[in-house]
Amino acid sequence: MAIGQNLGSPEGSATTGDTTRSAGLGHRPVPAGRAPRRRRPGGSHALPALAFLAPLLVFYATYFVYAIGFLGKASRQRIGLSFVNAVDVGWENFRLVVTDPNFQRALVNSLGYALFHIAVALTLGFLLAMMLSTGVRFRKTFYIVFLVPALIPMALFATVFGQMLETRDGAINGLLRNVGLGALTQDWLGATVPAYTAVAILLVYAIGLPIMYYTAGASAMDLSVIESAVLDGARTGQIFRLILFPLLKNVHKTVILSMLLGAFRGFDIIYFSTNSQPGGRTGIVGTYIYSSTVGVDKVGFAAAASVIVLLVALVISIIQLIVTRRSGSTYV
């Protein structure tokens, strides 16, 4: 079985500049010597464009700008879920959040989990996607195994996994005991390293989304490059490392941004598995905000935390945009 055997349709070279202008995956190549047709900005297309955009803009204004504005307003108030008797507290909520060691730890955890998830996605996710794209036997079965976690609510898996982590009656320790590895049983939620390990296992399990990205990227890849490499005697490792990985650099960027921002939304994974234990050490910003809102009623405080997280996410997004712009790359 040759690498590249089933890696999508040949649609022009991605690297040979003499035949194409665009190397972006998913974009139609443009023959050399023929400049892309430019459209005049605005003009007669502006009105139809606006008409098509209007529903989305209304939706955006209603559910995004208004919601964020409401969040910003609440963040400077002492206010509960009843939203009555709001007291203006200025920037006090922000000061309390920023100086809270639990918030600082949650923010570091969120970024740490994101980096780990990115590392797993760029290595394991990439390798699995490429191997599955080669037409390996039972590939459909493997796809189901790896993609199902990405298609089913993570809360469901995390809840089951959380019960599996029980020290005495949990399935993980039970399995270890049954196979004679009782010495490896852990107090998964009572000690820091096992708890972080448990989170890492869940993050690895959620590898389906990067696999989907890489599979999509691979399907748009130019097969002739792989074929040339094979004819030139490149080994499998070289093809992976020197050809496939660089060719999919734009997919890597998508994966990185997706994993990074996903870490700020990964509430369900932590809440339903470790519930931030031990002692709040595995918590993330999502669980921090949740614990400040539901059943606690510090809506203003939670809003301030949300605004801070939003700003952090925006900074990350802007940095990513700048980096992408400098590299002149496109999205998948």
Partner: protein
């Protein structure tokens, strides 16, 4: 293509900037929402339909109660809006705040009273529709706790009853089989746990919820045995968390793990796993609240397919010499009338029926709460075995002499963080003294509103 993408990025950046501006603009303005006005009453006569929002008791029980009330009051129809306990607070508060047509609203006394007081009518506004001697028909303690929960001394709801924690349920059949007397002290619990481990390795001696909030319940119950009301004094009198009695309490709780009364594996259990383990016979002792007293009933166990043949109950075992049985109590099942109600008279009649009338007798025998109704007597036949009867009496006795209020000492705001501090001691991350110091720092950080703070 390049140009279009650049324009796309500009649009994205513009959107992000717009979002930031929205935050900044919104941050520059603030204000509040005022309370609602009392709605005018429906005086048209004829049949009345009451809208009843609640999370408690369980839906099947509430439906039985409504059926009984409607049978006795043919002109009244009650539409039930039942919510899961976890969702109820937010749903009810938002509905009340928006002036939704609700005539009777269940209030989680400790958690909700202060926040709903702007949207419900004080009891004094509808007391004329209650029996003249209504206040003497109800126990003082839950009424006082409901007033305290409002923080302005006003009574906004009538509590159906009260509940307490922590109490110990035990598998009476198992203890009989192993020749173990129900333990009343920590030493006896330690001996019983060791005997159970030796005789029945597959059974966990003692289980309870391992989540943070429950650790504070365990801690305050232990401290309450020798220092009643200390948690209340931390809340209202400025007693520090570094108080030697609290440090000692942390050490005592930790010692129960070191001695073998408890196992740290229990700390990995989330609700409702401890009840499942106890109910399936996989645990000998369950440390939970008085709201689990239905486990004493053979009928309840049969209906819920609980395998344990006989269950008894006792207060939390005495940990230190000289200690007395302790429990933290709180009023629960508050019933209030929203300002938006147009049927105050009929709603008040239903609330009276539920709190001091026949309704209280009907739900009271299900052992969900200790009814606030003074004249309530558990009917003969509800509990069959001597262990169950003695257990019910033991719970009643300890509830009559509470060691502290379940509500204060940071309330829900502090439960998770404070409980994590206790877990740090149990998991050997901190000494009791260091953990107490960290709790004091957190308690005074300004992140947790204390009673008396401005709203």
């Amino acid at each position: 293509m390049r140009r279009n993408l650049t324009r796309g990025r500009r649009l994205m950046i513009a959107a992000l900037v717009a979002a930031v501006l929205a935050v900044v603009t919104a941050c520059s303005d603030s204000g509040g929402v005022g309370g609602l006005e009392n709605a005018e009453q429906d005086t048209s006569g004829g049949p009345v339909t009451l809208q009843y929002w609640t999370w408690f008791p369980p839906e099947a029980t509430v439906k039985e109660l409504i059926a009984a009330y409607e049978k006795a009051n043919p002109d009244i129809t009650i539409e039930l809006h039942q919510y899961a306990a976890g969702d109820y607070r937010q749903s009810a508060q938002l509905a009340l705040n928006s002036g939704e047509d609700i005539d009777i609203v269940g209030v989680q006394v400790a958690a909700m009273t202060k926040d709903v007081r702007e949207t419900v009518r004080p009891v004094k506004e509808w007391a004329e529709n209650l029996p003249d001697d209504w206040e003497s028909q109800l126990r003082e303690e839950p009424l006082d706790q409901a007033r305290a929960a409002a923080e302005d001394g006003e009574l906004y709801e009538l509590p159906m009853g009260s509940m307490g924690s922590v109490v110990m349920y035990y598998n009476a059949a198992l203890l009989d089989e192993l020749g173990i007397d129900p333990p009343t002290t920590a030493e006896e619990l330690t001996a019983a746990s060791k005997k159970i481990r030796a005789a029945k390795p597959s059974i966990t001696p003692a289980v309870f919820i391992g989540e943070p909030y429950w650790q504070l319940e365990m801690l305050w119950t232990i401290i309450g045995q020798t220092n009643p009301m200390l948690s209340d004094r931390v809340s209202s009198e400025g007693v520090d968390w570094t108080d030697p009695e609290i440090v000692q309490g942390l050490a005592d709780y930790k010692a129960m793990f070191a001695n073998g009364a408890f196992d740290t594996s229990t700390l990995s259990l989330k609700a409702p796993r401890p009840v499942e383990l106890f109910g399936s016979g996989k645990a000998a002792f369950l440390f939970d609240g008085s709201w689990r007293a239905a486990l004493l009933s053979a009928d309840y166990r049969k209906q819920n397919k609980i395998a344990v043949k006989d269950v008894g109950a006792l207060p939390f075992p005495i940990v230190r010499d000289g200690g007395k049985p302790a429990v933290r109590t709180g009023a629960e099942g508050g019933l209030a009338i929203p300002k938006a109600s147009t049927h105050v008279k009929e709603a008040a009649d239903f609330i009276a029926w539920m709190t001091m009338g026949e309704g209280a007798d009907l739900w009271g025998e299900q052992l969900l709460l200790e009814p606030a109704k003074k004249s309530f007597v558990l009917p003969d036949g509800v509990l069959a075995s001597p262990a169950a009867k003695a257990g019910y009496q033991a719970i009643q006795d300890v509830l009559q002499t509470p060691s502290s209020n379940r509500a204060p000492a940071g309330g829900a705001d502090f439960n998770n963080v404070g409980g994590n501090g206790v877990l740090d001691v149990l998991n050997d991350y901190k000494s009791p003294k260091d953990a107490a110091a960290a709790l004091q720092t957190e308690w005074t950080s300004g992140r947790y509103p204390h009673p008396g703070d401005d709203d």
